[in-house]
């Protein structure tokens, strides 16, 4: 049994210690918003936060994250940046197939958490590890700007 703190709750999961966090979340906890795309940290679909830092959950064994705070897409709206990103994504209808979008949103939240007014170049750099086969990138860029704008307004 390994103890995991996911989205503010303690869980005991019965998986082998080498199990990637991705499969523990999906199979043991049935938090299926976090997606499998490559298993090699190449596509970003499995991005979650570990202690607030975006990580590729397909390459992180559960044994390495016991006792650390894990946040998944299912709880991203608990945070005001997360909520703003989610709202911007909906406002601009960014999604197509939607499979990579949990990872896109997690990474966008990470970007906006430390850079409240990213340029196109900042976005391209921060988001280039998140593949989207539908190529929703035009709207990913626009939605990040939109979320930044909304967050800025709320500050005032």
């Amino acid at each position: 049994m390994i103890e995991l703190n996911v989205n503010g709750k303690q869980h005991k999961v019965d998986v082998e210690p080498d199990t990637p966090l991705l499969w523990a979340l999906r199979d043991a906890l049935q938090l299926t918003g976090t997606k499998y795309g490559c298993g090699e940290g190449l596509c970003g679909a499995c991005t979650v936060f570990v202690d607030g830092v975006p990580q590729r959950s397909c390459t992180v064994p559960v044994s390495a994250v016991g006792g650390r705070r894990i946040t998944t897409i299912e709880a991203v709206d608990a945070d005001r940046v997360g909520m703003a990103v989610q709202e911007a994504w909906r406002k601009l209808d960014v999604v197509q197939c939607g499979y990579c979008q949990s990872g896109q949103i997690m990474n966008a939240v990470a970007l906006l958490s430390h850079n409240r007014k990213p340029s196109d170049a900042d976005i391209d750099t921060a988001m280039s590890g998140n593949l989207c086969r539908c190529a929703t990138y035009v709207r990913v860029r626009a939605a990040i700007h939109e979320a930044a704008r909304a967050l800025g307004e709320r500050h005032v």
Binding site: T32, K35, V95
Partner: protein, 735 residues
Amino acid sequence: MSEHLIENLSRRQFLEVGAGLTLGFCLPELADAAAGPGKAGDGVIGTVNFEPNAFLRISPDNTVTVISKHLEMGQGTYTGLATILADELDADWYTVRVEGAPADAKRYNNLFWGPAQGTGGSTAMANSWEQMRQAGAAGRAMLVSAAAKKWHVAATEIAVRDGLVTHAKSGHKATFGQLAAAAAAEPVPTEVKLKDPKDFRLIGKQARRKDSAAKTNGRAQFTQDVHLPEMLVAMVAHPPRFGATVKSFDAGRAMAVKGVVDVVRIPQGVAVLAKDTWSAKKGRDALVVKWEEGAAFKLGSDEILARYKELAKTPGMVAKQTGEPDQAFAQAAKVISAGYDFPYLAHAAMEPMNCVVQLGVDGCEVWNGEQLHTGDQHAVARVFGLKPEQVNIHMLYAGGSFGRRACKDSDYVLEAAQIVKASRAKVPVKLVWLREDDMRAGYYRPLFHHALEAAVDADGKLVGWRHRLVGQSIMVGSPFEKAMIKDGVDMVSVEGAANLPYAIPNLTVDLHTPKDIPVPVLWWRSVGSSHTAFSTETFFDEVAAAMGKDPVALRLELLAGHPRHAAVLKLAAEKAGWGKPLKPGRNGERRGRGVAVHESFNSYVAQVAEVSVKPDGAIKVDRVVCAVDCGVAINPDNIRSQVEGAVGFGLSAFLHGEITLTEGRVDQGNFDGYPILRIDEMPVVEVHIVPSTVAPSGIGEPGVPPVAPAVANAVAAATGRRLRRQPFRSADLAA
């Protein structure tokens, strides 16, 4: 699909369906009581749930459920179908939801595909347009007549808007939910009046996507997300080469992995069944399999291409001939020629293929991002000796497909069924393919070689065109073989080439279809046009340059008989500022602008690309301006979204896409070997829609074909170098 097939089938099918329109509201036992005075009248919410009939269900809580017969794989079909129906129904868009239809070809066939249910060929909107309008209008008519009876007023005096039925004179009003039970008792109208397009309130306006919420909070259900009690996860060790089979295997070490419960041999390889995904993977890693590779395919893709180039020296089967091409070339003042190479391409949807199957006592349940319902239903039925209607398919969201989930051989669906059969599992089994399984399984866009020649006469006129194609047939062995292979020519191999729109008096298009290459091939977003648009549109550009003509002007000159091509071309050129100088590049970058226009699936798209070519030969695509004519724009924002994505998808292939084989083994396995476009490579994209009153055609695919030739033509404008292979090589463009 060819134009002819679409037209013929659509007309016939539409009439049949129109005559037998069965839409209506089912009448459960309590409906009468609920519809009684004071029960479902003004301001009172009923308690009766109505079961769906074909495409529409209205609940007492005012929820309008549209039943989609087509798969939502990202292309916006759920939203598009709902937009059409909801407009004719005059529903409140915010109360509309969409549900996937079951597999039932009697009710849910694709009207362009005869008696088969499925999604593909950019047909979802086109085949459903009249059907969904009729379904919505019939629903509206029944609500209106129910209200007229209830209020003792004339139906013609009743108005419907945003889910509210009103009678102005008397002040009566009711929501759809309040009228649903009474509407159920109304006869289904045999004929309905459709709206005048000027009265559309959703079609052509912005109706927001219905799947945005679920796809931004992690709750959207893909096949990968299916969890059922006692479900097992299966992974399969597949042969390393096409045509190889299992010689022997040792399951000992695999069975010793914690969580592994069974190892079984199936026709496709050896399957490991485990309690969870990671255990299944570890079990498969521990499996020892010896393969019988004697009869397996052992050529490399370079050798396949070399063979194709040899074949291209000899005449193929004639797909199209007009005038006297031989004479035109014999008398030509100038002949221009070029050869083009296209690799195998993987679809590489973000969700690798997967499928859940559970065999029950009197049937079978399948959960799948289902794209070819009828084919898969029959295939699974054969495995278990069931009738097709005993196979119940739950259509879930697909995490992309681009054609892959419409496998003509039902490959991965059959694999899941074979595992259940071999293991005699009574519990649900989820087949999971890892990225490598998905990328190495074949069913690629076929490798092609094209050879083109153009003849210019002494007056400087383009008088001759020869186009020879060499590549495997997709349609052989598919349900569409009969319709699509004419006199030995697979019309899909030459689509976009045999129907070249330019007025060239002497033209021949011929085709070699090698039958000794067993690499499985499949339709890949835009199918034949994924290669023919590139060869025809870059070669045309090269010919224009050789003739000293402006590429847009020469196209327009030869498109006089094709006004829809000409209109999108003009619009794209105008919006892109064609002819105006580009800002010069910095740091030694060479800049250029290029154009391409192409029709596919009855939709017309022109694109103008602006590029910067770096000194090392790398290409940066800065901006792509698109003009689109897909008939009535049902959902303009979705059209823009699809074309933006199509630009990225086409660029991905042009910049990076290539599946290669070495001695029959697929070299690539994951996104390191088969890169797909990243956000930092994505250009600015502008999409302009040509207003139209023509019945809608598709938009899932038609944005793909023009982008690669537009970019290659821009590169030629910038560097003077012609790119004749996909993907491009930066070494060919180094300063």
